[in-house]
Every structure is written in C-alpha cells, then in structure tokens.
Amino acid sequence: MSVTNLLENWSEFRHAHPVGDVPHDPYKWAMSIDLDACTGCNACSVACYAENNLPVVGKEKYAAGHSMHWMRIERYWPVDDTTSLEPATREFPDQGAQFLPMMCQQCEAAPCETVCPVGATNHTPDGLNSQAYNRCVGSRYCSANCPFKVRYFNWYDYPTTENVWPAEMTQQLNPDITLRSKGVMEKCTFCVQRIRAGERSVKNEGRVLKDGEVQTACQQVCPTGAITFGNLIDSESKVHQQWKAQRVELTADEQEKDKEADSGLRGYRILEELRAYPSVMYMERVRESAI
C-alpha cells in the first residue's frame, strides 16, 4: 500500500466517462427499450427476480417502501396531446396507458458513484455502474443522489427473514451471484454475471463477444422483444444500430430529437439534462393519429 498505489487505483476506476481519458474498449454495454413494443407485462421484472436472487419482501415490507424490484414497470397515463407533458384530465384513459421499464440506467457520469464514501459503487471499463456489496457500508448516499431512484437498500437481512427463502426455495437461488445481507445497497447490474461469464468464455477463443451472445435476463424473457442489450461500440450490434438510427449519442446531453421539431425520431434518454449520460435509450411509444 502506498500513495503510488492509491493514485494508480484511482485513475483505474475514476475515468471521466464518457468524454474522458480512456475510450471504452472492447465493450460498452448499453440498452435500448422500445416503449412502442413494451406492453407492461412484468415478465422482465420476474425474470430479474429469478436471475438476480431478489427477495420477495411481502406485503408489509412492500407497504413500507422496502420492495427490491431492480426492474420496475411504471405505469403512466398519457398526456393530452403529444406536445404537452401535462397529464390527461379526460374522463377515460382512451389513449391507453404508458408503461416504462425502469432500472439502473448505468449512467456514464453516474451521480451515485462520486458520492459513495468507500468507492463501493464505481465504473467499470466496459461502462457499467458496478456495485461491490462487500465494500458497501450502507450510507445510502448513492441512492440519495441517484436521479432515477433505482437503488434498492437491504433494509432487513432478507436471506434470514421468514418466508423470503424458506428451506426448499433456497435451492432456486442463482449461485453465480451472492445473496445480499442487511445494510448493503443493490441495483440492476445489467446482469453482470452473465456478461462476465460470456467474456470469459470467448477469451479462451481469443475473440470478443458477438451481438446476442450475452443477453440480460429481462431482455431474454421479454415477449415483445422490447429490450435490446448489447455492445454499443460494436457496429454490428442491434443496440448500436438502434442508437445510431435514433441519432442518440452517448456523450451528448441533448439529442437530435430535442433539437429538431420534425425529426421523425423517437429515441431519448430520461433526465438527459442532468448529464448523467445514461446507457439506456428509450424509444417513444407511438400513438395512431387516425383514430
């Protein structure tokens, strides 16, 4: 341990993404979610429970605000016309609802990272906001500073809480990830265990992952294929093509769509103006104008 060591470590995990010193290479994991395809069915959320050992907290704790769904499906009522953002005041929601799958946006300049006193949440070279459970002291500062409020704190020791994982149910747990004990923060990881397993497996072959070789659990299950996940710097990847087609730039804080009134585009990032540079692009839901 030395100061040299400190400084080296420092530059290792404190890159000024996305515009800074070290470019992502060979991976930059990103997502796009097509809200016109998403039906709000919740299958992705359940998949996340299954894949990531999320505890079912029960009615009481859910009521207390202690739910742990890394992927939550938000339901909004649409606005009256497409230019207004005010909610509809009509008698019936005759334009249906708006569903939004919301999980950690893996911000490139993540507000949660800078504030963590122990560096338990930080950025990986492949552009993930990682969470080191073992290092977390539970200060919850990261959650306080996350604009999207997608961090979930272990308010109780769920592994030992009654009826969370009764005897047989523990056998369902995914051994590729830990169970989180009380007092640590957790959140969507882009199913990092799958990414790492994939990376390892192709390393032996001396190549990088191809599009589709790693899928997140939510993407994999989604019946409408609303979720696309992949390597943004791989021009062959669907996610890359979608971002490109929507002219959404990782490093921009205002996208084409916002600049141009009749762009015909529908790609945007949420709370872009905060300059957290999220790695998730959403595509607006389309609504037929003829009916």
Partner: protein, 457 residues
Amino acid sequence: MKDINEDIAWAKINKDVLKSLESPRKLYWVILAVAIAMISVAVGCEVYQYNMGMGVSNLNNPHVWGLYIATFIFWIGMSHSGTLLSAILHLMHADWRKPIYRFAEAMTTFSLMTAGLFVMVHLGRLWQFYYSLPYPNDRGLWPNFQSPLLWDAMAIFTYLSSSILFLFVGMIPDLAICRDNMHDGWRKKLYTWLSLGWEGTDRQWRNFRITYLTIACFLIPLAVSVHSIVASDFAMSQQPGWHVTSFPPYFVAGALYSGCAAIITLFIILRYTFKFEEYMTLSILKKTVRLTFAIAMIWTYLNAIEFASVWYGHDQPSKDVLIQKATGPYAPFWWGMIFCGSIVPLMLAFKRFQTNIPVLLVTSLLLNLGMWLERWMIVAPTFSHGYYPWTWDHNQWPSWVQWGIVFGSFGWFTLLFMVFCKVFPSVSMYEVKEMVYHRSRATKKLEASGMQAKGAH
C-alpha cells in the same frame, strides 16, 4: 444591571468555581438520572435496529435518509457555539465571554461526539464503518476521496481532535488550581497529571498564550469548513432542494445560530444548577442574546436568499421541492422552522426580554427547535419529491426507533456535559480573574481621572 463584582477576591473565585466540582444542587443529580434514562432509550433502539436491520427506522427506498442525518447536522451545528465564543471572540478580545467560554467549548466537543454517533447509527453496516477511513490495508483500498461524506468524516475528526486540544490547553492553569486545592484522591492525581506541571511561571504563561492563540486561529477556519463540508453533502449532490450554492454559508450561519441559542439555554441551566450567579451575570447574558439576535437575522436573510434564488432560478424541480415544503405534508414543520427561526428571535430585540430568564429559556429552546426543524426540512422533503415522480413518497414518517435515538442523543449530550462540569471547572477561573483585574484597573484609572465608572464593556 449587576455585572461581575470587580472587588471580588481571587480566592473567592477559586472557591466558588471549585465548589461546582463538589456540591451542586440536587437538580444536578436529577438531570444526570434523566440523561441516563434517555440514553438507555436510544441504546435500546439502536440494539434493536442493529439486529433487525435499518428497516425498523421506517426509512425506505427512495427515502433513505431521515432524522439521523438531520440530527447529525443539528449537533454539528451546535458545536459551533464553542468555537465562536472561545476562539472568535478570544481573537476579538471580547472580554465578556470569559466566564462562559469554557462550557461553550465543552459543548463543542460533546456536540461533535454526539454528531459522530449519528453517522454510526445511520450506517447500514455499522460494523464496517472503518471502510470509510483512510487506513493502511493489504489490498491497497482507499476510501473515495471524491465523496463529501468522506470529507465529512475527516473534517469532523479533525475538528473534534482540535477542539479537545483547545479545551484542554485552555484549562491547564485552572487544572493546576484544582490540583492545588484538592485533597488526595483520584481527582488530585487526575489534575496533577493533566496540569502538566503548571507552576504559573512567566515562561509557562508566555508559551501558554502563544499555544492557545495558535490553536484558536487554527480552529476558526476548521469550524467554518466543517459545516461547509456538511453542507457539501447536500450542495455537492445533484438533487433538487440540495444543490444550492449558498448552502455552506447558510449552514455555518445556522450552526452559529443554534450554537448561540444553546449557549443561552445552558447558561441559564448552569447558572442555576452550579450557583454561578456571581460569574454568569445578566450583563453577559444580554450580550449573548444580542449576538444571537444578530445571527438569527443573518440566518433569516440567507434563508430568504435561498428561497428567492430557487424561485427566480429556472430549475423547476427545485421549485417544486420548495412548494412541496411549504404546502405538502411537511408544511407544518417547515412553517414551524420559519416561525421558530425567524419570528421567535424578534423577541430578543426587546431590551426587557434580553435579561428575562424564563422568557430567554423558552425562546432559546424554541430557537433550537427551529434549527432542528431546519435540518429536517433540508434532508427529508427532497426524498419525498425528487426528480423522479414515480417514486415520490409523501407518507414517509420516522418510526419510534428514529425518534428514540434522536431523543436519547440529548441525554447523551447532557450526560457528557454534566459529568464534565462536575469534573472540570466549567468557568475559567484564571480568565475571570484576568477580567476582574483588568476591569478594576480600568475603573481605578477612570476614578483617578475623575470620571465616573460606567460599568464594564
């Protein structure tokens, strides 16, 4: 109005102050017992929370901070009183502070110790708290120097150690007096050890004064920085209602404000409990009250600035938080803060209240209630009404565990403070003597020149 008697004999000063180490009123023991009872409530709550998990505090996602952080800031704020009186006024040669600075300085230390507890109590994994310290370890792991929370830890630690040093150094001549006046026993040993062989030689006095002044100079920027850094926990974040540039001075003003108010409260209590009427005179009280009033107005001004800048700035989320504070479920507390913090102190502008002990006791308590509410209103509403509407949570209410620990913290502070007053001279004997000496000389001079004495200034 009666001020310190200029003819008072030095021996009497010693006797009076040393008496506080021996025979306080019965009330002292009552306070002690109540304090211990309060602490046991907090300890019970903490044991429960430690075992069950933070969930029992009723904090939730996204409402992750609550009374613990609010009360933490409150205690940090409290700590500023001591530094203000002992260091700032010392540098400004404000004589009147001398009889009361010692206990104010003790307040600083004990408030910081109380504040520190809240950092611990608030951690999800209290048992791993040391991860946030920059200690050498095998893995070359360092804390995150970017995090204001880390700066906090370091600032508080520095401030605490410095103020302990300052308190101790300032006490050395008095500790020698204690040593010389005590019968054999553990106290004598303690004082002997702590007074570091003080004999009152010229050289000792000279070194003493230089040291004391140096620490005082060192302490002032520390005090300002510590609360500025606490303010950074919020101002450096990206949250509406928090990322306010004026937070550091605002926090410092709030800190001085609550510190002054607390001095008034403790002044009144100590004066009665330890029979210090002779030294803690109403004229000193009056000066403290005026100072408090001035700070109250500064705080009010900074508050107004904050509201105005939010209002005229174009940041809608911040504005929404402000509106939410004034009209939402927190409105009673928010208006309570305005009332206690800006309206109640107007009382202090009236001369007849400036020495009215019952009124001042109530007022000072109200001011501190206001200052506590201020901290709560900084912390909580942003969580209820942040950037992301889906997660707005307007029903969050702290559980009895949170309240219990906040309640107990006052007991903890009181206990530390009361024990201190019983073990160490809470009025600085040598400085009172100096003050009396200087004043009587000044009076004599005046008399000699045929002018009338007009009370001390």
